[in-house]
Each structure stands twice: as C-alpha cells, then as structure tokens.
C-alpha cells in the first residue's frame, strides 16, 4: 500500500490505460439484477481493519474494497471488476463527505484505494475528481486542493461554483455544483455512515446535500421528502450511480457532527447501485448498534429516516426499501 506521498506521485505520473469500452459494464449488472428482481447490496467486513492501537490498516482497507467489489460484480480480479463499474475515457467523480470534521469523514485510505483501482482499470489520473463542498471538508478527509489536470483532482464546489440555473423536483429547489453538472460523467458516492440529528441517518442519498448550494433549505420535516426529491433531480439520479459507503467508522448518535463518545467502528463497507437499498441497509446497521448500547430506536427518538420510504415510493422510484427485494450479501 502506498503512503500519501506515493499516492500523489502515482496520481501525477499516471497509470496503466486498459483501453476504452463502448458500453458500461454496469448496464449488464443492472440487467442481471432486474432479472433477479432484487437489488444487490454487499456489506464487506474486516474486524481487524483497525490495529490494536486504533490505527487503520491501509492494506486491509484495499483488500476489503477488493472483496466488496468482487462480491458485487462477480469478478475476482479487481481490474476486471472495476471495468464493469466505470466507463473509461470519462471523468469519474468521487463524492466524499467531510462535513463532520476529521474524526468522522470519508477515510483517506478508502479514497486512495479506489483511485488506485480506477487507474488500474484505465481511468487517467486527471479524469478522477475527488470532491466535496469546500477545502475544509476535503481537509477533513485528508485531501489537499489540486486542480492540475495531469493529476487526480481534488477541489470543492466552492472552487468550481454552482450553476446559475435553479433546478427543482418536488420541494427541492437548488443549484447544482458545476463539478457534478459539467465535469463528471459518473459519480461514485463515498458517504460515511452517521446518525443524523434531523434526518435520522445520513448515508448515500443524504450525501447529495453536499452537491447543492443551500443544503440548509432541505432540512425541514426530518429532511423528508427533501432527500428523496433531491435525488430525483436528473443530474443526481443519472450520474450518481454507485455507492461505496464508508462504514469503517461511524457515530450512532449525535451526528452528523463528530461525537467521539458515540463513535464506533463497524469496520465495513456497504456497496450497491440501489441508493435506497443501500440506505435501508445502513439504517438497520445503525439501529442494531443503538439497540446494542441500550439506546432507543430512531423511531422512538422521533427521527426515523422517513425519506428512505419516500424515495422508494412510486412517485420517486429511486430503489427499494423492501428487505424482501434486497439481496444482501455479507462477506
């Protein structure tokens, strides 16, 4: 596993290109899943992800990512698996989440591992954009600003700006980050699992609050139906197609800010295309932890993540929250 300096060096010097393809491998997966009429969600775990001293083992993070992606795609070789997920010759965005600060942000080791595999699958360094709202959020993820096209780019929406044109769907009336609308052909969503004081849980769909100009306006009513509405905005619905959810660390109460007294380490990744199924799965994980430590359910705490069911309804049709229609693989 490379350290940060090596990572940036690799980013600067480029990686092996494996040629382009005319069709996304993802489509085939979707077809397969449609046939099975179930949404696949993979939870990959490694209890030894953190060492005895609490340090994250970067090699194990890479191995965990490979295991998750291999299980999801049915391809053992990471490069082959990634070629089924991302298009070559297009700009791939990685939307991280650093809102909660350094203690509870998308882990740098995970971002590094994904960037390495993307490059091995043929994505050029300059075609990878790691982004969040601003430099502070990126710094929380251990990332520094870089806009050099020859390297992996990392910068915030505060640098690229937001579209002038407002978009709307339901109650969501927002301006989208230009990184999403103008830069990225596809976005891999890299949220971090957290309890949320208002929404109940924040993970895949809620992470899209970080791609709009005024997320504050979307918090009424426990963020319902705003989260679901926002994810129906075409650029979000169509471009943000895959989630590699960071459940390496999490807060089961007091989120979305960092509350170390409620920190726990699921040591897991939650992977899937169906953002509703991914969020439903993540919600259950939070509930199990709350139950384990004797905390009330989110329903009892008067903040269940109702937006998940809303996202699954016929009007939104973003995915399924029906456990009978979720093919959950725990590896």
């Amino acid at each position: 596993m490379k350290n940060r300096r090596d990572f940036l060096k690799t980013a600067a010097t480029g990686a092996v290109l494996l040629g382009s393809r005319s069709k996304l491998g993802l489509a085939a997966i979707l077809d397969k899943q449609a046939g099975a009429a179930k949404s696949k969600v993979v939870i990959a775990r490694d209890a030894a992800l953190h060492g005895a001293d609490g340090t994250l083992d970067e090699k194990r993070v890479q191995a965990l990512l490979d295991r998750a992606i291999a299980s999801y795609t049915g391809r053992d070789k990471p490069v082959e698996a990634w070629k089924r997920i991302v298009p070559v010759g297009k700009v791939i965005g990685l939307k991280v989440n650093g809102l909660g600060g350094k203690g509870i942000a998308t882990h740098f080791a995970l971002v590094m591992a994904i960037c390495e595999r993307l490059q091995q699958a043929g994505v050029k360094p300059g075609e990878i954009v790691v982004w969040d709202r601003n430099a502070r959020d990126l710094d929380a993820c251990g990332l520094t600003i870089n806009t050099d096209l020859s390297r992996i780019r990392t910068y915030g929406s505060d640098v690229s700006g937001y579209e002038e044109q407002q978009e709307s769907w339901g109650i969501a009336r927002i301006k989208l980050a230009k990184i999403l609308t103008r830069e990225c052909a596809m976005v891999v969503n890299l949220p971090i699992l957290k309890d949320h004081e208002m929404a109940g849980v924040t993970f895949s769909m809620k992470n899209m609050y970080g791609v709009v100009d005024r997320p504050r306006d979307l918090h009424a009513g426990g963020c319902n139906p705003a989260v679901a509405d926002l994810n129906c905005i075409p650029a979000i619905r169509e471009k943000v197609r895959f989630t590699i959810g960071d459940a390496i660390s999490s807060v089961y109460n007091g989120g979305p800010s960092f509350h170390p007294e409620h920190l726990w380490q699921p040591n897991a990744l939650i992977v899937g295309e169906d953002r509703v199924a991914v969020d439903y799965t993540a919600w259950q994980m939070i509930e199990r932890k709350r139950s384990e430590v004797g905390m009330p359910t989110l329903e009892a705490a008067n903040r269940p993540p109702r937006y998940i069911a809303t996202a699954a309804d016929a009007a939104h049709n973003l995915g399924t929250n029906d456990p009978q229609r979720i093919h959950l693989m725990e590896v």
Binding site: G54, G103, A199, E261
Partner: protein
C-alpha cells in the same frame, strides 16, 4: 487639540472623557453584553497546546456552513454566534474548540444536557461541565464550549481539560 462634531475645538483632556462617556452610554442603552476578548488561547498559553488555525466565526444564519444538519438544534436553543479554531497538542493530538454564544444561559444548558451518556464524567468548569475520553463540554453563562479531540490518546483527557480551563479563563 481635537475637533468636536460641530467644529469647535476642545482640549484633549476634555475630549477623551467625553468620548468614553458616550461609549458607555451607547453600550448601556443598546443592552449589549460586555464585549469578550478572544476566548481562544494563543499557542503556548496552555502547556503543550498550539493554535493551528485562524478563528472562524459563524452567525446563526450561517451556521449551516459549519455544522449543516446540527445547526438547527443550536438555532432552536438560541445560538447567536459560533467561533471555532483548531489546536494541536504536543504536535500530535489534533482537536477543535467551538465556542457558542447563546442568547442566554438556558440555551447553553439545553445543548449541554442533550445527548449525555452514562460515560459522562462531571468536571469543575464554568457553571457546569462534562468530560469524555475525547471531549470536554462546559457552559459558562451564555457560552457553550465544546472541545473535541480527533483521536484517542492516554493523555488526551488531561490535555483537553487543561485547554478547557484555558478557554474558561478567557470567557
């Protein structure tokens, strides 16, 4: 010599007391609280602690830019402003200090009492304070102070408490 507002000249020994009197009168008439000096200890002011960032301040209406999602509970408790700065202990342990100025002590109490767990240890700080392994939270009048370390270290609790006392002394 100094010019008065209508252009007459006053001797400086008369002008200065007059100006001070006006400032006191304005403060009293507008009900402003005593303006606090910077509550963030400078590097070295608390043994081992270095202030590693500029202080950033957010009015209630802009708090979402800092803690989007958490902002509403602070707003409903009457937050007026929130200031924040990063610190580092002995070049190793990173922490953040948030100082919230609430409308009154009730708001500070409300936030302090929210989400406490049985692991909370009461500490002598301000009007009331609690400590966890990686954080210290206390209130003093309308101020609510939260200090959080990003990592767990054996000497973190003691170091955080020392920094908290440093902040308290400046409130």
């Amino acid at each position: 010599m100094k010019f008065s507002s209508n252009g007459w000249m006053l001797p400086i020994w008369m002008a200065i007391p007059a100006m001070l009197g006006m400032m006191v009168a304005i403060t009293v008439s507008t009900g402003c609280k005593k303006a606090k000096s910077n509550p963030f200890p400078a590097s070295g002011a608390v043994a081992g602690w270095e202030k590693t960032s500029e202080t950033r301040a957010f009015a209630a209406k802009d708090l979402w830019q800092y803690i989007d999602g958490d902002a509403e509970q602070y707003i409903s408790a009457g937050v007026v402003t929130t200031s924040t700065s990063d610190y580092k202990y002995q070049g190793n342990l990173e922490a953040v200090v948030d100082v919230c100025t609430m409308g009154d002590a009730t708001g500070a109490r409300k936030i302090l009492e929210t989400g406490q767990t049985k692991e909370a240890k009461t500490v002598q700080l301000g009007d009331a304070g609690i400590q966890y392994a990686q954080s210290v939270i206390f209130r003093k009048g309308p101020y609510l102070v939260r200090i959080v370390a990003y990592e767990s270290m054996p000497d973190a609790p003691q170091a955080l408490l020392a920094l908290a006392h440093g902040v308290e002394a400046k409130l």
